[in-house]
Symmetry: C2
Subunit: 309 residues, 2 copies
């Protein structure tokens, strides 16, 4: 019997101006997954958490991703996947991506590392498509590659690993639900060319700022003139929370994924912790429960915790 | 009497996906300018070329830029500027920017380097605004800073010097006139959000590709789904010329500025020369006269050719 334990990290996608292309990995929170070879073909899912996610493989993100890779490999074995989720589903920090990526990385290990990371993203997209209704990879890419990534296209899949300096993220997850369909319905079909130019100049400047470790430039580029204005009403006290974080020294930030989480980037852990305090104070006024995380941007994605031959 | 001679290079703006923000400097063609201190205040322009540009300072790009910097410096002297243009006005490779930048760099030298490069771009914009009817800096920035630049915003002015590998540009200048107003009228007011996302993912990927010296990524990112489709009908045989260049090994390229010049980037001088041949063959079919240039992307912008105290 062979098995492998992996830790699948939370990720932030839609990084401000980089809507639908930029994302990064966190060190925590992360999901824990134990994947075990079994003789019968197919996939069995067991959830060791209390989120009540479906365990039928065809209705489970990890299950669908697992089926995709096993099928592509024409594997002569099946897998049992025990999942202990710590990343709350629907939090906007890549919960479904963590499940999908954890499954495919673990199974690829059991297959003797047959597939490239890029191929693994392709398999994980099968699970992600079920969860979000769209074939996107902006959480999958940082979850699998680690660090700060740019998805240039998903068809064909083209993922760019960006150079970036040490940066810390502070995340606040308000305990409210935002339906992806609702967040999507708010997106305009068309945008003014002027606004689009501002956005792509900021994306270019942000990538350059990350590569040059120019913190000032990173901060100035973290502006979103297109998506944030239409989506921020979904998050109570958004403007106040953001202003408090910038006052506390954050470089910038915005909505994580399609919310409800909000993230801020800082140049040091000390600042990220001050930002967390400012966030809490500003958000407490809403009376809504929330949790917060402080994490360095993780250079590594899925981590193998242990494996047994 | 003090005087200074400068060489002001041609530049390519609107670099494919980087419409209105990305530009780079060429080694040639360049304008030659001789700027001489005179006792009387104000600016005198003399053109040593045959383009018939106006010599009244208030109607001359170099004159307006010169007046702006002299005024800001409260200079107690005036200047006489002799201009020998080699960059044809209206060619789409930054002819007016070269005049404006050459004037301000030369005068700044006579002022003892009082102003920063960023401030000089601000003065040069006074001339550029007269020539193009808009305050933009996408040719000015590479002309002054050299290399590959990104203008994040013009208000406030925020210019990013990008890292980039050795690259060669091949430029073809068809002898046709495209009025800036005509090229501008073709721009859509609104663009589909989907297309804008493709564009900003490409801008981010291009900046990353330049920083990583990843030639494959640079080539894949040189796609423009927004402006090229609407403007390319202004340039005869555009699609055939572009296809021939890609066949000859170019990484990619597109319309330079608002045309009529077209440029292609290559990873070596040998390829850039092959691209030039392919360009000529494909364009000759139009029966329109043209000239071509092959130049490495210049790390230096305005060059001081000689100065005399």
């Amino acid at each position: 019997m062979e098995e492998i334990r992996v830790k699948a990290p939370a990720t932030v996608a839609n990084v401000v101006c980089g809507f639908d292309c930029l994302g990064f990995a966190l060190n925590e929170p992360f999901d824990e997954m134990l994947v075990r070879k079994i003789d019968e073909p197919g996939v069995r899912i067991k959830h060791r958490d209390t989120f009540g996610l479906p365990e039928e493989p065809e209705r489970n993100v990890a299950g669908l991703a697992a089926l995709a890779i096993l099928d592509a490999a024409r594997a002569d074995f099946g897998v049992e996947i025990e999942i202990t989720k710590h990343i709350k589903p629907g939090s906007g920090i890549g919960s479904s991506s963590a499940s999908a990526c954890g499954a495919v990385v673990a199974i690829n290990h059991l297959l003797g590392e047959r597939f490239s990371k890029l191929e693994l993203v392709g398999f994980a997209m099968e699970g992600e498509a079920f969860a979000s209704g769209a074939r996107h990879a902006d959480n999958l890419a940082p979850c699998l590659f680690g660090g700060f990534t740019l998805v240039r296209t998903t068809d064909p899949l083209d993922i760019v690993e960006l150079s970036f300096p040490k940066l810390w993220a502070t995340v606040i997850h308000p305990q409210i639900e935002i339906r992806t369909s609702e967040a999507r319905a708010l997106l305009p079909q068309e945008v003014p060319l002027r606004a689009a130019i501002v956005q792509w100049a900021n994306v270019g400047a942000l990538v350059a700022g990350l590569a040059k470790a120019d913190l000032g430039l990173i901060g100035r580029s973290l502006e979103d003139a297109i998506v944030e204005p239409v989506r921020k009403p979904l998050i109570p006290n958004f403007d106040e929370v953001k202003a408090a974080c910038l006052d506390a020294g954050a470089l910038g930030g915005g909505i994580s994924g399609s919310g409800p989480s909000l993230f801020m980037l800082s140049a040091s852990m000390e600042t990220a912790v001050s930002v967390e305090k400012a966030m809490c104070t500003a958000f407490q006024k809403t009376g809504i429960l929330f949790s917060t995380y402080v994490s360095e941007i993780a250079r590594e994605g899925i981590r193998v915790a242990a494996s047994r031959e």
